[in-house]
Amino acid sequence: MTISAGGGYLEVRNLSKCFRTGGGRFGSGRNTVRAVNDVSFTIPKGTSLGLVGESGCGKSTVARALLRLIEPDSGSVMFDGTDVRAAKGSALRALRRRMQIVFQDPYSSLNPRRTIRQALEEPLRVHLRISSRQIRDKAEAAIAEVGLPKEALDRYPHEFSGGQRQRIGIARALVLDPELVIADEPVSALDVSVQAQILRLLEGLRERRGLSFLFVSHDLGVVRHFCDRLCVMYLGRIVEEGATADVLDRPLHPYSKLLRDSSPVPDPSVRRAMTRIVGEVPSPTSPPPGCAFHPRCGRAESLCSNEPPQLGPLKADHSCACHSPEYAR
């Protein structure tokens, strides 16, 4: 009944977004931040793509730009052949029904003065012309699907724990039977035991409903568990793209390797002789010339500080933007 047939194919080409900062009365000079720079990827129907990187790399901006919660500057976003960027009015509304977002902190995205029922029924009233009876049934089905009792519908957001609120956030995204779910750090605010509950729930939904996912996260363990493919972002660009296990077990880009080696694993016997990590992520207002990662990179050559590397396939189905990749054979 709830399975939506067919759709869920997302294709993103050369997406870019700049923000202008400063220039206020007290501010320093105007700056331009290239938050998202020439980003391309596809999400086939029913698969999940992970977008990983550190704060400020532009991963959340990508997520929002796909839904036009932030208007991108250039590039194309095609959803099942429909141009998302050109869509207006009822066509845009129809697209938004099919592409839903789950945020990191559901508390700040739920209105504290409205019951869960009101929060779940509102999108149904906006998007669908169905009877009150059907609306009530759909809200009840959605809350049951995320594992909460029907009584939860008549309560307020503050009455729930973090994990329960995230279930509500997911139910809110599900009521419209979307085909693509964009999940922006959906489990980052949760404790480990609850995080596993939510990941299980999302997995079940993916299987039952055949949902496509864009999964934004900074946690490599979580994306390894959930995502088929992975894009690693650094300062607005994708630096590596491939199957999740390939990217994490045999990273090609030195930054992907650094990210992996810095992620602590629960095993003291592999206590990593923590490699000397030099420097921090540079300011996005003045990214270094050439490859943005070269000031922190142990493999940097003179070429790296002049020529920005292009993202291209180095192995079958595994792309990397680096002049001197790891394990390059």
């Binding site: 035991s193 509950q197 946690d219 629960p266 990590i277 921090e280």
Partner: protein
């Protein structure tokens, strides 16, 4: 007990309580823990387990209205911190016991340069002249590896990145050469590459200064990276205490084992992620028997009736609070 050297800090039967709706409820229940000289002891647990409240109780930083240390002792250098006067306590805070927090921006004064803030701590506890204190502040910034420290000394906190702010906090904590550092989720707000840098640095500084570190975290991966010993907390009490090797190789409490199975790992494919059903109980509704029993897959009827003690298992340094486990009634 073994012939251990005198611990740097010893907590005995600590009970910290909060007043909720007119009655007092314990958030830390009968907690005993020794921090040895020069060791890193990790306290790990989920939100609401009482790990931060334990650290705040040591330094008596809990609000006097609504929170109290109901009973117990915190022994440090022959004195019981729980009964010292407020004046004696301020002599110890930031001096021989220092603390760093999760979010450095909320602990730094935005209207003072970082140099002034570090120097202030030195002058309050050690006296001396402003110029000497500033010179020491400069040395500390170098010590925590802040680039171009001479000019950064005169910068304000907002001019630093998150990782750099945490280094400033560490520099400030080190200012009076503390014997004990309480680190409450110091890397949780940082990106992983910066977290790795800060953890490495904390470890080096611990050696250099001969400090003991009580490291509070929710992240078992971080625990595996830095701890010598680990205390796992649940609902206000320690449920397992062991060396870091023993804890990860042979987790004995069902909660510890379940936590490890619920954590997705970056370094290997994890097909089976097993969530722990339910949630942490509220302080107002702690079960009377074993607090973990309602979520435990090895639960027996006796678990609901009797609160188990934290007792040595076969391995003398490995303590566990589970009557099923100690009776040998549970395998795997």
């Amino acid at each position: 007990m073994n012939h251990m050297p005198k611990p740097a800090l010893e907590i005995r039967n600590l009970q910290t309580e909060f007043r909720i709706g007119g009655s007092w409820y314990p958030a830390v229940r009968n907690l005993s823990l020794s921090l040895q000289q020069n060791e890193t002891l990790a306290v790990v647990g989920e939100s609401g387990s009482g790990k931060s409240v334990t650290a705040l109780s040591i330094l008596r930083l809990l609000p006097s209205a609504g929170a109290r240390i109901g009973s117990g002792e915190v022994l440090f250098e022959g004195r019981n911190l729980a009964t010292l006067s407020e004046r004696e306590m301020s002599d110890i805070r930031g001096n021989s016991i220092a603390m760093i927090f999760q979010e450095p921006m909320t602990s730094l004064n935005p209207t003072m340069t970082v140099g002034q803030q570090i120097a202030e701590a030195i002058i309050i506890h050690r006296g001396g002249r402003q110029s000497e204190a500033m010179a020491e502040a400069l040395r500390l910034l170098k010590e925590v590896k802040i680039g171009s420290p001479e000019s950064r000394l005169h910068d304000y906190p907002h001019q630093f990145s998150g990782g750099m702010r945490q280094r400033v906090m560490i520099a400030m904590a080190l200012a009076c050469r503390p014997k004990i550092l309480l680190a409450d989720e110091p890397t949780t707000a940082l990106d992983v590459t910066i977290q790795a840098q800060v953890l490495l640095q904390l470890d080096e500084l611990k050696q250099a200064y001969g400090m003991s570190v009580l490291f509070i975290t929710h992240n078992l991966g971080v625990v595996a990276q830095i701890a010598d010993r680990v205390a796992v907390m649940y609902a206000g009490e320690i449920v397992e205490l062991a060396s870091v090797e023993a804890l990860f190789a042979n987790p004995m409490h069902p909660y510890t084992a379940a936590l490890l199975r619920a954590m997705p790992r970056a370094d290997r494919a994890s097909d089976s992620l097993e969530p722990i059903p339910g949630g942490v109980p509220a302080v107002t509704a702690i079960p009377s028997g074993c607090a973990y029993a309602p979520r435990c897959s090895f639960r027996q009827r006796s678990c609901d009736e009797l609160r188990p003690d934290l007792l040595a298992s076969g391995d003398p340094g490995h303590l566990v609070r589970c009557s099923q486990r100690l009776a040998g009634g549970m395998r795997g």
